[in-house]
Amino acid sequence: MSGADQGDQRPILVVDDDAVILNAVEYILSDQGCAVVIANNGREALDRVHSAPPRLILLDMKMPVMDGWAFVAAYRDVPGPHAPIIRMTAAQDSRSRATEISAEGFIAKPFDLDDVLAIVQRHAPLS
């Protein structure tokens, strides 16, 4: 839990190389009144965490340029505080899914947008 208070104006960072998914998640979060920042890959995401420190990160794992795993490693080296990361993955096999599941947050693709909102609500309550 990030314990964000009602006045938390920091955005939610959404990272995905698929524009349709990116736009859909951005839309649904904005629709709930959240500030949203988007990035197409891990590299862009690293730029965003500097320019606009997020309170939560929704992260795709398989991406070109810099994938989700590399981003997580690089983000840990950035001075904190660190936002919780929700991993979004389309992986099929149990092992890699289990690894993702054991992360702070995990949501399997394809997802219900309701489930996305629910997990966001759990980690960074919407105002």
Binding site: D18, V20, I21, A24, V25, Y27, I28, D31, K62, A90, A91, Q92, D93, S94, R95, R97, A98, I101, K109, P110, F111, D112, L113, D114
Partner: protein, 408 residues
């Protein structure tokens, strides 16, 4: 000294005259004759050459034939060397037995009858050739098997990599498709659009169909993994009651013709693969709904058994399974009702069965007299070979109903 096809025959005797006579007798055979005039010389020669047959005198200075035979036998390299004793003395049966125990294969009495010596050596040489040939074929066979195995493993790796990419590539557009349909449905619901019901219903159908496609793809990918045991299970402590409740909520949203009721232990923690457990339950619920097309009651039960198992039961009151098809329900591509397109790929129960077997559990199907089907799944509460974690699971139980019946 010894060519590849050559059969070496070592003759050991301290009397040069005898060696010469053996040499003369065996000269016609297609073998390579080597002479040694003492056991020491014989050992030296054995170290340098691969010897098929040793022809030796029993009585020799330094070391007798029995001792030499024992030394030869002890060496792994000479396991296939045939030892033939030539003896001038009258040997008792006990002497012979001693010789056989030392690894002799035959005896030739003196005076040596040339034809007999020739015949025996010839047979042994042939045996040696054949054995060597067989060994060569064996080695070649093993090499080919290894080669083939490596090729297959490489091919499987390629397929695995492909499946992993395919999973991602197939699911990504589905994610976009579903998200878009859901967003359109949400926007349509907002009053300013005044969207008619058929529009919203259509969007919901789009989303549901995409969801169905997703599950079919997941099944196909799982089944290709199962085919070579790649569906690995990762044991974690999972509250099966909570998982079942969650799934029931999802399935309730999918049907308005069925009533789903759960009777369960308040919390049932078992060490299972979380993804696998979800697949098993959701396959059973999916089937229960699919095979009771007219709607009806679906009962679900999640209970801890006294002998250390979690017992999951799903019972529908639907069309059941024809008697003649009951045998095969856990087989691959099995479909209970091929005449309509109600069935999916016929993989759900197969995959469930495989996952359950990997958990060391079991699944049974029962066909109550009043129709429908009851599936009962038993999963061990504690995973094998994980004593530390199983202790945690036991500690996490809300109350101990009975002492675990130690099923290991």
């Amino acid at each position: 000294m010894s060519g590849n096809d050559q059969v070496n025959v070592l003759m050991v005797d301290d009397q040069p005259g005898k060696l010469l006579s053996y040499e003369t007798i065996l000269a016609d055979l297609d073998v390579n004759l080597i002479k040694a005039s003492s056991p020491r010389e014989a050992l030296d020669c054995l170290l340098k050459n691969k010897i098929a047959i040793v022809l030796m005198d029993v009585v020799m200075p330094e070391m007798d034939g029995f001792e030499l035979a024992a030394m030869i036998r002890d060496h792994p390299r000479y396991q296939q060397t045939a030892i033939v004793f030539v003896s001038a003395e009258r040997l008792t049966d006990l002497d012979r037995l001693k010789g056989y125990e030392m690894g002799a294969v035959d005896y030739i009495p003196v005076p040596v009858i040339p034809d007999i010596l020739r015949a025996k050596v010839s047979v042994l040489a042939e045996l040696f050739r054949k054995t060597r040939q067989l060994e060569g074929m064996n080695v070649e066979l093993e090499r080919r098997v290894e080669e083939r195995t490596a090729e297959l493993e490489a091919a499987l790796q390629v397929r695995d990599d492909f499946l992993s990419v395919a999973a991602h590539e197939l699911k990504t557009p589905l994610t976009g498709l579903r998200a878009t349909a859901q967003i359109l449905a949400r926007r349509a619901q907002k009053s300013e659009l005044n969207a008619p019901d058929w529009f919203s219903d259509g969007l919901r159908t789009l989303d549901q169909q995409a969801d169905r496609l997703t599950r079919l793809i997941a099944q196909l990918l799982d089944v290709s993994r199962l085919e070579h045991g790649k569906l690995r299970v990762e044991y974690k402590a999972v509250d099966l009651t909570a998982l079942t409740e969650k799934l029931i909520t999802t399935f309730k949203a999918r049907t308005n013709k069925h009533t789903l009721t759960l009777s369960a232990d308040p919390a049932l923690v078992a060490e299972v693969d979380p993804v696998g457990a979800e697949q098993i339950l959701s396959n059973l619920l999916d089937n229960a709904i699919k095979y009771s097309p007219d709607g009806g009651h679906i009962e679900i039960e999640v209970r801890r058994t006294d002998d250390g198992y979690a017992r999951l039961m799903v019972r529908d009151h639907g069309i059941g399974i024809p008697v003649e098809k009951r045998e095969a329900i856990f087989g691959r591509f099995y479909q209970a009702h091929t005449e309509d397109h109600r069935s999916g790929l016929g993989l759900g129960l197969y995959i469930s069965h495989q996952i359950i077997e990997q958990h060391d559990g079991k699944i049974t199907a029962e066909f109550p007299d009043d129709g429908g089907t009851r599936f009962v799944v038993s999963l061990p509460l504690s995973a094998r070979d994980w004593p530390a974690a199983s202790a945690q699971v036991k500690a996490a139980r809300p109350k101990v109903t009975a002492p675990p019946a130690g099923r290991m």
